[in-house]
């Protein structure tokens, strides 16, 4: 038996940097350093754990859609232990929205061949958290998402989804699309050996024609949503800061009362 896992990852601007929009209202990627989205590290980690705990022959492929620099995200995942990588890159992809991205990912996953897709819970830039569900809808396979615990055994994926009202146990047959949360387990750091090995691992590059996708199905012009404006949130006006000298709690209560909270 063999198990083919594809992990979808995103290269995002560092959330601790000064993120802003470009003139065409897409995310500016030039002025802030990019990196593998932190939430996707959990997906890579769970894929590697599934591989390590399996008696089957497991291959872990990381897949990203993004500009040239997005290779850095693939390299990071490879250094964590993934076997190979696929980079979908095409100038016509600039400005593609979630619906369009899910099309590209679905075609790429199908071309790569898969039994299991593992994604993070959301990207740290767009933060929509809908791509795994969209991918499952496009592929016509079960969606087993937002898991804080995941197991793969005997052609089945099981896991725990912690919702607001209840914690649910889920089960589906492979092939399936899984997403994991930041509660699924700390992601490993790449070892020196891992970093060296990653340099020799294969990274395939595909463009839209490799995936039989027309330019008019993706990109900013063909997006399903339009951003009309983006404005920087005005800085909050400086508040009152007091040092506690024994009356801090009372002073805070006084402020809350003045604002009619008590």
């Amino acid at each position: 038996m063999s198990l083919r896992i594809v992990v979808t990852v995103k290269y995002v601007p560092d959330a601790t940097g000064d993120r802003h929009f470009a003139d065409d209202l897409t995310v500016d990627r030039d002025d802030v350093d990019g990196l593998l989205s932190e939430l996707d590290e959990y997906a890579v980690e769970q894929a590697l754990q599934i591989a390590e705990n399996s008696d089957d022959d497991v291959e872990v492929t990381v897949l990203t859609v993004g500009p040239e620099d997005a290779k850095d995200a693939l390299r990071k995942a490879l250094s964590m232990g993934a076997d190979k990588a696929i980079h979908v890159e095409d100038d016509d992809l600039h400005g593609t929205d979630a619906i369009g991205t899910s099309l590209v990912l679905a075609k790429a996953v199908e071309k790569a061949g898969y039994d299991l897709v593992v994604s993070g819970m959301a990207s740290t830039d767009g933060t929509m958290g809908v791509v795994p569900a969209l991918l499952a809808e496009r592929l016509g396979v079960p969606q087993v998402t937002l898991l804080s615990e995941v197991n793969v055994e005997d052609g089945k994926v099981t896991g725990r989804r912690d919702g607001d009202a209840a914690s649910e146990q889920l089960e589906a047959s492979l092939p399936a699309v899984v997403s994991v949360t930041d509660q699924s387990g700390e992601a490993r750091y790449p070892s020196f050996k891992g970093i060296m090995a990653a340099k020799k691992k294969p990274v395939e590059s595909w463009d839209l024609s490799d995936l039989d996708i027309d330019a008019d199905e993706v990109g900013l012009e063909n997006a399903y949503t339009t951003v009309e404006s983006a404005s920087e949130r005005p800085a909050r006006t400086a508040g009152t800061i007091v040092k506690d000298e024994g009356e801090g709690g009372k002073q805070l209560a006084e402020f809350l009362a003045s604002q009619k909270f008590i």
């Binding site: 899910s102 569900a133 079960p142 399903y224 339009t226 007091v242 709690g249």
Partner: protein
């Protein structure tokens, strides 16, 4: 007037507050038609009518509880076919966003998630979103198909607006995918008796400075004196001091209450992303340099173990 579909989030017929907020927003665009699914769907009608639903489409089936997400997508798609609405609004829960996205894909529509405001526009509804850890505000619209938009809790006031609320049963044929992911077990969360974090008017949060699970009792005591929900920073959750369901921040809940009280929280970007849009922010922290103080309307530099209990006593005294 055009109709607007509103997906109803309810627990055995008890409608949750974010759905009532959606009805307020839906009335800005058209006539709200509510869609209530699963056990107790019919019991939602009176409340929905009170808040402006002209029609309530209901469907009860075991599939909604037994399988993940897809049965609800099938039902909304059926409702869309029956009504041909101007827009579909869904509460921005984790599940709500997944339902909305799959529905949009089926309809050939765009989807906007986590709107914090919604208004009618010449080319369809315009959604306001708060992005990049709430450092930017964007206005967007769906440019293809029927707009599908999810809206965050606390984005609008709940308003009484009595309407007919005529109950009609919705006819739903489940797709082949509907039974793909089985829910084999469900453990309801234990009720704390406190308001739901994302819906609360006041949130009291604790972070690294709380320094231990047992010390969260003083955060809870302050919350209870104010009738508030309790939140926690990622540092406190990762340390195992408080459950992840209460985490405020990028990978937890994003809240927008009238009042946010941060205790022993430094205010890293991860946390700010989840609370920066709160109307009034106050903080207690030992470190005068903590970035949280850049956000506050009122801050106390001091030991939370002194300040918080004193505040709790004072609140209790003032409330009598």
């Amino acid at each position: 007037m055009a109709e607007v579909l509103v997906y109803v989030d309810h627990v055995d017929g008890a409608v949750r507050k974010p759905t009532l907020e959606l009805l307020t927003l839906a009335r800005r665009i058209g006539e709200p038609v509510a869609v209530a699914l699963g056990s107790g769907a019919g019991d939602t009608a009176a409340t929905l009518a009170e808040h402006g639903a002209v029609k309530v489409l209901t469907h009860e089936a075991a599939e909604y509880a037994d399988y993940l997400v897809v049965p609800k997508v099938d039902a909304l798609q059926a409702a869309h076919e029956a009504v041909s609405p101007a827009a579909v609004l869904v509460p921005s829960s984790a599940e709500g966003k997944e339902i909305a996205a799959r529905l949009a894909l089926r309809l050939g529509s765009g989807v906007i998630t986590d709107a914090v405001d919604l208004e009618a526009g010449d080319e369809g509804p315009v959604a306001t979103q708060s992005v990049f850890a709430a450092s930017y505000t964007t206005k967007s619209r769906v440019s293809k198909g029927t707009p599908v938009i999810t809206v965050k809790p606390n984005s609008a006031a709940v308003e009484a607006a009595p309407a007919a609320g005529a109950v009609e049963s919705l006819s739903v044929t489940f797709s082949e995918q509907a039974t793909g992911t089985k829910v084999t077990g469900r453990t309801p969360r234990e009720s704390t008796g406190r308001p739901e974090l994302t819906e609360a008017a006041i949130v009291v949060s604790g972070g690294r400075g709380v320094n231990g699970a047992e010390n969260f009792a003083i955060i809870e005591a302050l919350a209870d004196s104010l009738g508030a929900a309790v939140g926690a920073s990622r540092a406190a959750v990762d340390a195992g001091w408080y459950p992840h369901t209460n985490q405020v921040g990028q990978t937890g809940k994003s809240v927008s209450p009238q009042l946010y009280i941060a205790n022993g929280i430094s205010g890293a970007i991860q946390h700010r992303a989840g609370m920066q849009t709160s109307k009034t922010i106050v903080a207690v922290n030992k470190d005068a340099e903590a970035p949280i103080f850049e956000l506050v309307d009122f801050g106390v530099v001091g030991d939370l173990f002194d300040v918080v209990p004193q505040l709790t006593e004072e609140v209790k005294a003032r409330k009598g």
